[in-house]
Symmetry: C3
């Protein structure tokens, strides 16, 4: 494996941090969508949430989340490069994610994020995003973010 | 907006980390005061705590906190530059703050820190510090750090 | 005190992050052992766990932990150099550690890690590792990781 260049590593760390700010903004979904390529896949199936096969599906999911949640808090840490082949860069990180819904439910998860990224017009974007659980999932996750 | 230079960004990240160590030291308030300019304002009003208009008020508040608390733990993450105009640099970050008081009460908050900083004699210092809540606040915060 | 060079600082931050990934892997203890020198000491006595005087003792302890735990999650933050004398580099960091055991018990701790490191064949390794508690310890820690 080629080692990930320091500047790419930094860009990906900042992209993943921007994602957390975007998810926690809970107002405008556009800054969140800007993190991703147009053909991005977001796979939340390992935590019992949807597998989203394009940006439209990502938008639809987060429109629903932003509608129902009053508070979000996603701290990111433990950044580590997973692979780099000269054009595709993969970074993982740990996230503690918390949410509070308008209906009074709260949730906390401890998960790993995996961002597979490519450069487009000078900006790194995520084309494949996976969440995997690291601790047992609370029953309230599906209640809060799940689809009926 | 001018982009924040990398070295300024690094200095602010380290200043905010030093602040966490200083708050968690719970012995000597001086390392904490050294983080701030003499005319610094610390606004904790969004979490139901005082707005402190000068360093004397900051000292008084933390003298009380250090007196009453037996344990503190403030993890900082999600550093992100907010603005930079060539002399004033603003950085935000996420913090999980925990405390345990001598009277047995415990508290945990999930908040955002905003440090507005200037350089003085070669060191960056905070001249305006704001805490805003990201998750609903626990009732015990006022009990622990509040003023009668 | 000589200031810790930036490249050493970065290496130690990455070594401590690698340690968290290794502890959370819970499959193969070798990546965890690779973090340490052959004569490494790991002192967990401040959190009621063993003081391990060599790599054999470290292996034995983590063999037991990996056997009993089904989930681990260790987020690391607040990296700060403590000292550097040109050959020995000491870094501290904050960790929220969570675990879930096969018997159903769960545990969460808020601690400080201290890594005293030396360079060997071009790689920094830890020769003395200490964990100290920052918040009151849960009673379940000894139940989960303790020795009968």
């Amino acid at each position: 494996m080629t080692q990930m260049p320091e500047n790419v590593r930094t860009e990906l760390e900042r992209l993943m941090t921007d994602y957390c700010y975007a998810v926690d903004g809970l107002q405008d979904v556009q800054p969140l969508l800007d993190i991703f390529t147009d053909d991005a896949v977001a796979d939340f199936s390992a935590i019992g949430l949807p597998l989203m096969n394009d940006k439209g599906a990502i938008k639809e999911f987060f429109d629903g989340v932003f509608e129902s949640m009053t508070h979000h808090f996603h701290t990111i840490s433990n950044f580590r490069p997973e692979s780099y082949d000269g054009s595709v860069a993969v970074m993982t990180a740990y996230v503690i994610g918390m949410g509070h819904a308008a209906d009074g439910n709260s949730v906390e998860v401890q998960v790993k994020y995996r961002f597979e990224c490519v450069e487009q017009d000078g900006n790194w974007k995520c084309r494949h995003y996976t969440i995997t659980p690291m601790m047992p999932l609370p029953g309230s996750l599906d209640t809060i973010h799940g689809e009926a």
